[in-house]
């Protein structure tokens, strides 16, 4: 069967014939996807609550510049993306307390670092897959070392979040009262940026810099459409993120297209479904006093 798209055969795109043989090869990627789903789903809730989706995009572009620079100069790509992310997180943590300042700073720095990253990649004459992968994600890039880095980072981020979650949530939804109650609002903001930076740095390898919001924004935004329970928002966001990541990897495996379109499509469909549920569901009723 030939499609209308200038002779692309669907059999070239979808081919699940050797699926059983392929599966063990992507064991690391599947584990990475699941771990990223958990950490991304949790962090995403705060990204939405603190109104940071644009900051996530900004951090990921700077992280991309760091990673491609590392690729060019023969350093570790993971170290490069970490360096980029942490610089970005510090910059945003220090410069932008006010949303307007922050967004302007991101708007200025993001195109510059994206340009820088593209410059590094065009000077790099190694494998082309490495280049493209940083932007759009790739499926077989996860060796044992990067998997360990990823898991350790995720556990660290989740551990710190477990300790600061309550005050951080308080400071995010109600900064004035939180501050009056003794919550160190001005420390927690930059600290969260740092955790966000670490999360972005390890996510870039798998989902790619351009599509990171599908992991750090869409699942949490979908969860918030269907519940306002602080616990259920987190659980659903994690479930949605893991479904998108692992599902995306499993489908990508049988095809010749990179992983990211699948991840983004699955998380987008979940978001649409949640919006539909929210629209169709009646507003929560006021209880009548007995």
């Amino acid at each position: 069967m030939t499609s209308a798209l200038s002779g692309v055969s669907w059999n070239d795109v979808f081919n699940f014939a050797d699926y059983a043989q392929l599966l063990p090869l992507v064991r690391n990627t599947l584990i990475a996807g699941a771990v990223l789903g958990v950490v991304g789903g949790v962090v995403g809730v705060l990204v939405i609550t603190r109104d940071l989706p644009f900051a996530v995009h900004g951090i990921s572009e700077i992280s991309f510049a760091g990673a491609s620079g590392a690729l060019l100069f023969g350093a570790s790509v993971v170290a490069g993306s970490f360096a980029g992310s942490l610089v970005a997180a510090l910059l945003l943590g220090v410069l932008g307390f006010r949303a307007r300042d922050r967004n302007a700073v991101i708007g200025v720095i993001m195109p510059f670092s994206l340009g820088l990253g593209i410059l590094f990649l065009s000077l790099y004459d190694g494998r082309a897959a490495n280049k493209f992968g940083l932007l759009t994600g790739q499926i077989v890039a996860i060796d044992d070392t990067s998997l360990v880095t990823l898991v350790v980072t995720a556990v660290g981020v989740l551990g710190v979040l477990a300790v600061i979650w309550r005050p951080l949530m308080f400071a995010s939804v109600d900064p004035d009262v939180a501050s009056a109650r003794g919550v160190p609002v001005r420390v927690l903001g930059p600290l969260f940026m740092l955790l966000l930076g670490c999360t972005v740095a390890v996510s870039i390898q798998v989902v790619g810099a351009l599509l990171i919001l599908a992991l750090l924004c869409t699942p949490a935004a979908a969860a918030l459409k269907v519940t306002a329970s602080p616990l259920w928002v987190v659980l659903l966001s994690v479930a949605f993120a893991c479904t998108s990541m692992v599902g995306g990897i499993l489908v990508a495996l049988g095809t010749s297209i990179p992983i990211s379109p699948y991840v983004t499509t699955i998380s987008f469909l979940i978001y649409l479904a949640c919006r539909a549920v929210a629209a169709l569901r009646p507003a929560p009723a006021r209880l009548v006093a007995a």
Partner: protein
């Protein structure tokens, strides 16, 4: 020995750089007192609350709550901030907001506690929010959110409630219920209330004393002695007329007078 005043300011001064908001301020608030803090924009009403919350330091003088120096995060002090609506997507229901008032400042994972659940139920009952405490915060009306904010502020059973324009953009009915709620708390629990507002009429029937601040000058006393043509004209330094229509108090000329003050100040700065 007599009980210490709930709030005591002695010769308090607050200045930002060269500009002094107020100085020589002596104020004692007793348990169960309802104090209205009035004055034009920029006269330092909100700053006074910030001092008592421990968020801003006095330039000179002392500020004490229950006989101790003010301290940020004190459970003795409850705070109802200037009203701002919550985002539609905020991951909290009504009762979660109240819960934050109890343990939102604590580190670590929250373990479900029977004691906390009961306290939250009582607080929500007290402010009459039981029927919608389970509804997402972003879907509640301004008046409903404000009641829950009061429940949140009462979560530590404070000795004083600091309220910053809590009636702003509420309709008359909701203004009435919020004021009644605060007054009942004041009367039944002896909780003192410091109520910052630009409009005295919604609270005039429950107010024990008025602290009126204008451009560095102030007057503190019962409403009938402070809210007079003579006192306010002196404070504003121009002709201000106070009229009474039954319960209502109408102040004429204050906005213009405050504007002149602002103008004078700019002139001085430039000169």
């Amino acid at each position: 020995m007599s009980e210490p005043a709930v709030v005591e300011l002695v010769q308090a001064e607050l200045a930002y750089g060269e500009r002094s908001l107020w100085s020589g301020l002596d104020l004692a608030v007793e348990a169960g007192q309802f104090v209205a803090v009035l004055g034009p924009n920029g006269s330092g009403k909100t700053s006074l609350l910030k001092v008592l919350l421990g968020l801003t330091d006095l330039t000179s003088g002392t500020a004490q709550v229950m006989g101790r120096p003010v301290r940020r995060g004190s459970p003795r002090v409850g705070y109802v901030p200037q009203r701002h609506g919550f985002d539609v997507d905020v991951p909290l229901r009504g009762r979660d907001l109240v819960q934050l008032g109890i343990d939102g400042h604590r580190w670590g994972v929250r373990l479900p506690r029977r004691r906390h659940r009961d306290t939250i139920d009582e607080l929500i009952e007290e402010v009459g929010a039981s029927s919608y405490a389970h509804v997402p915060l972003g879907q509640l009306s301004g008046g409903e959110q404000q009641r829950l904010r009061i429940a949140q502020a009462l979560a530590t059973d404070p000795d004083i409630l600091l309220c910053d324009e809590p009636l702003l953009s509420l309709d008359l009915l909701h203004q009435r219920t919020v004021v009644d709620l605060l007054h009942r708390r004041c009367r039944d629990h002896g909780t003192a209330v410091l109520f910052v507002t630009h409009e005295i009429n919604p609270i005039v029937s429950v107010t024990d004393s008025v602290l009126y601040i204008v451009a560095g000058g102030f007057r503190h006393g019962p409403p009938e002695t402070v809210m007079t043509t003579e006192v306010l004209s002196e404070l504003y330094g121009s002709d201000v007329e106070v009229m009474r229509r039954g319960e209502r108090i109408v102040v004429l000329g204050a906005d213009e007078a405050a504007h002149h003050h602002e103008h004078d100040r700019h002139e001085t700065v430039r000169a």
